[in-house]
């Protein structure tokens, strides 16, 4: 019984990646507004960054609080390279600028990783935080390289246009990012299918046992960190091209925390989780911030709810339905989901009303008074009635959601019975 390796390219894989490429190509043709285009460019960068982060957290079990160091340093080296190209001191195509960012990220991964990966678990997390603080401090100490508070700005339109591509229009930048995003996604996925990628999972699960099958877990962690900092550097370079500005914030702890949130919300247990997380968080951050001052609060609440009720992230919510999908039972869940969604919406209306009224009274009252409008209804937040109504909506929503959750559970019980029956058959 000789083993036949599965073909490298098979139908399912071709379909998945073909679809991904198609989505990347078609999206800007559907969403033509400049706001949408810049958001999609941000998403592409965030996807690369979050996937590179998950090489550590999800695949190797390393919780890093300093991954933006590699992203930010990649961005700074790229921005200087781009400026050198602009000044005519250096010849390098802008299309391949991310390689410079990647190599810069890799270089610092080699140096910092050597120190950080000596440890795992909490000590690793603390050392990564220390390095992030150290680099952030350096960024203010060396203004010639990091540009001080203002950062380093650049002009991505350099040299002569190649086939009409100058990277001036944001659509061209989008396709540059999309192209790199696709290549990086494929490369990072391929990495999970190699001996090193598999052993990263083994080290995550049980570093000690990895030793007793011949592998040095420190070495596995070090290699994964180096490779991941390469991809983070690529993302950093793309950010430098996209924004034409790199500041000390890009290497900071906040940026490191952000990529952690993206990966976690998307789901660190699945390869595609961070992709969803990166897209969703970017969307929330840029869309929600247009509508409300309290967007950070909503984002925090959202993260809290995710951790409490879906600790595996959105990816785990999707894969949860795989067995039900296989026995064609998902449609039995849909009615209960619709009911729960409606109940959740009622609860959300209550929460939003209260938060927005608090904001109106606490922060906006001095400029615009306490008159406000929510969901198309105008009212005065200084009166009692809107508060009473909001609290009532909140409680009704919570009650409805509690009842709906029982409905969802009973639907699941039925579906689970079908799944078990099929399995034992």
């Amino acid at each position: 019984m000789a083993y036949q390796p599965p073909p490298l390219i098979h139908r399912k894989r071709l379909l998945t990646w073909g679809l991904t490429a198609a989505v990347l190509i078609v999206m800007p043709l559907i969403f033509k507004q400049s706001f949408a285009l810049s958001m999609m460019s941000q998403m592409g960068i965030a996807i690369i960054f979050a996937l590179s982060y998950n090489m550590l957290l999800g695949q190797t079990g390393m919780l890093s609080f300093g991954h933006a160091v590699y992203f930010g340093l990649g961005a700074f080296f790229s921005v200087h390279a781009l400026n050198a190209v602009g000044a005519g001191n250096f010849h390098w195509p802008v299309t391949l600028l991310p390689l410079i960012g990647g190599v810069a990220g890799l270089f610092f991964g080699v140096i910092f990783g050597y120190v950080t990966t000596k440890h795992s678990g909490t000590p690793f997390a603390m050392i990564s935080l220390g390095i992030a603080e150290m680099v952030a401090a350096c960024s203010l100490m060396f203004p010639t390289f990091f540009g001080g508070e203002g950062g380093i700005s650049t002009d991505r339109v350099v040299g002569n246009a190649v086939m009409g591509i100058t990277f001036g229009p944001s659509i061209q930048v989008y396709y540059l990012i999309a192209g790199w995003c696709f290549v990086c996604m494929v490369a990072m996925y391929a990495l999970t299918q190699t001996p090193l990628g598999r052993m990263a999972n083994a080290v995550r699960d049980n570093a000690e046992r990895a030793r007793f099958v011949g592998y040095n877990p420190t070495h596995v962690r070090y290699m994964m960190l180096m490779l991941s900092s390469f991809f983070a550097g690529i993302a950093g370079a793309l950010a430098a091209i996209n924004y034409e500005l790199v500041t000390a914030e890009n290497v900071g702890v906040v940026a490191s925390g952000n990529v952690l949130l993206m990966s976690f919300i998307g789901g660190i247990g699945h390869f595609f989780g961070p992709i969803i997380g990166a897209m969703l968080v970017t969307f929330i951050q840029s869309a929600l911030s247009n509508y409300t001052l309290a967007w950070l609060l909503y984002f925090g609440l959202f993260f809290l709810v995710m951790i409490l009720f879906a600790p595996g992230g959105i990816a785990s919510l999707i894969t949860l339905h795989k067995p039900a999908w296989e026995v064609a039972q998902v449609r039995k869940l849909v009615p209960s989901y619709i009911v729960a969604g409606l109940a959740g919406a009622v609860l959300l209306v209550g929460v939003i009303s209260l938060i927005e009224m608090i904001y109106q009274v606490e922060t906006k009252a001095e400029q615009s008074g306490t008159e406000m409008s929510l969901f198309g209804i105008g009212f005065d937040a200084a009166t009692v009635m809107p508060w009473v109504v909001s609290v009532c909506i909140l409680f009704v929503g919570a009650l409805l959601l509690w009842m709906a959750s029982r409905y969802v559970r009973s639907s699941w019980t039925q579906v689970a019975a079908v799944i078990n029956a099929r399995r034992s058959a």
Binding site: P5, T194, P195, M199, D205, R209, R211, F212, V213, G214
Partner: protein
């Protein structure tokens, strides 16, 4: 011909407490050797010293005539010594097949490579599959290791241990906590997978020890008080006093 595994004046202290107190032991190639002794005698510590999990205080350990004292566990493993754990110690979120595959990759030379596709490695796949079949987990091949039953986990533990093709196998209480039929299956499995290899095992179940071992060492308070064939051990007065006496009180607990 050098012994497969040789311990020379091995000492181990934790602080001021001496756990292993001068153990000399030579195990020949192809021998099945059992280490028995009352609880707290230092059997598991001895395994931890041999496999590099703990450093020795003094003494030397030779594997096939080569000094392996002070080497890291992964280096000792690469030289051909593999061990199992008393408390199952596998990769819980990987499937049975992947657990075995991780355990064979180093020995087949694939190391840390990130430019090869694991699914494309025929030799790894063939070997991993043959091990999965050998430990009778073919039916559970794609099940996550974390959800296996206890007996299946113990079989996987042995599978991960022998998968790398090490010549010296250390099994730490392979049948602990098993029912009689499960124990019989485990003994048959151990006999099968250690053919032509050197086996050292710690075991409490005397029927397993006397059924499987060519020679037995009795460890009491960190010292080997007797080494010999099962018959010699059974008739040894010191053993009867020191060891079997304790065993009787253990059973009455």
């Amino acid at each position: 011909m050098p012994a497969a595994l040789e311990l020379k004046a091995v000492h181990k202290s934790f602080g001021k407490t001496a756990i292993i107190n001068g153990v000399d032991l030579a195990i020949e190639k192809g021998e099945r050797h059992a280490v028995i002794g009352p609880n707290g005698a230092g059997k598991s510590t001895l395994f931890n010293l041999i496999s590099g999990r703990f450093p020795l205080s003094t003494g030397n350990i030779l594997l096939d005539g080569q000094d392996i004292t002070g080497l890291a566990p992964n280096e000792i493993n690469r030289r051909g010594l593999a061990r199992s754990f008393q408390i199952t110690n596998i990769f819980a979120k990987l499937s049975v097949y992947e657990n075995i595959r991780c355990a064979v990759m180093w020995s087949m030379g694939y190391r840390y490579s990130f430019w090869k596709r694991v699914a494309g490695l025929r030799d790894v796949a063939d070997r991993a599959q043959s091990i999965v079949d050998m430990i009778n987990l073919g039916r559970r091949r794609d099940t996550l290791a974390g959800v296996l039953s206890y007996a299946e986990l113990r079989a996987l533990e042995i599978g991960v241990t022998i998968a790398g093709g090490a010549n010296v196998i250390l099994l730490d209480e392979p049948t602990a906590g098993m029912s009689n039929t499960e124990t019989a299956d485990a003994v048959a499995l151990i006999r099968n997978v250690t053919q032509g290899k050197t086996l050292v095992m710690v075991e409490h179940d005397m029927s397993v020890v006397f059924g499987l071992a060519d020679r037995i060492s009795v460890l009491v308070y960190g010292q080997v008080i007797a080494t010999g064939t099962p018959e010699e051990i059974r008739s040894n007065k010191a053993v009867q006093e020191a060891y079997l006496g304790t065993e009787a009180t253990e059973e009455s607990e």
